[in-house]
Amino acid sequence: MHRLVVILPVAIFAALLGIMAALLTDSERNNDPSRLPSPLVGKPAPAISLPPVAAGIPGGFSTDDLRGHVTVVNVFASWCVPCLAEHPLITELAEAGTRVYGINHRDTADDAITWLRRHGNPYAAIGFDADARASLEWGVTGVPETFIIDRDGTIAYKHTGPLTRDALERRIVPKLREVAGG
């Protein structure tokens, strides 16, 4: 009994340490606390309907337009520096034949036009979300965010923050392939 009194607290403490260490170091399970899992993944994309940024820029789309194709929807803004950083990768995706749509988040039409002219417009369609109401509907916490929508209009994947080469190759492309095959 006396031994138990000494050993038990130490054993419990050691077990707790072990569990915490396992959770903290297991990066594959995506346990980064700043990455929030979206409850929308696996659910139909909430209904939104967005106007185009301006005449001459292809766009304006609603959730219904997303059906029938696998679509990457990228939430971006001209004032967002990480968006510029990931812009070449978004362009690459579009050039590889993926249908890429954009949600222009909390921006002005003039700024968006200038930005797209300067850096190129890879988006097949852009929805203008000046008041971020549609972003809210999709559970967007900040820009950039990237969604993969399957043919049924279901959110298959969500990437928070700027895309990186690593994320593109290890997560986005395999997911696109999986969704396209299914």
């Binding site: 409850p39 971020a132 809210l136």
Partner: protein, 210 residues
Amino acid sequence: MRPTATLLAAVLLALLAGAMPSIAVQPDEVLDDPALESRAREISAELRCVVCQNQSIDDSDAEIARDLRLLVRERLVAGDSDEQVVAYIVARYGDFVLLRPPFQANTLALWLAPPIMAVVIATLAILYFQTYQRRRAAGTGLDPLSPSDRAELDALVERIAASDGPPPPRSRFRNEIEEGLRRPGDDEEEDTEADADDAGPSDPNEPRPA
């Protein structure tokens, strides 16, 4: 004059009352219906601003907090109940937006760990003190005299008893000292010795008869 002053005071008071409790809520967000507005404030205080982590949307100046405050009010005006408003936002941002985590399967450890730990710690503490008390009662807490120390002490006592003159008055603490030195195993033995010693007067301070 007087009605104008009263009106002015009322307007000022209303403005103050509206401004004082709110930290982040802007005047243009406030709903006309005070009942709806107070419900909105209550809901907002329970919802996390997702980019500032530990502030409620009611406290935060972040743009997304403002958007969520407006969304809460929009849903309330549309006729949603408080629960429906919260469910609407949880469906989009997850349980993380709730500053008070719900009691459900994946939060069992969170809610149950503290009471379980309290019970475990209390049990261990009780066991420890019981063991301590038992050992103290058994006297095993004190080191008994070694046989050679004891023999030396006995010899000393005998020599004093055998020396000339009246024996020194017996210390009133002697009983206690003997009590403390007694080994747990040899209680009976000691008792017979003590009985033999105590054949004299009961008061230990009184000189023994020669």
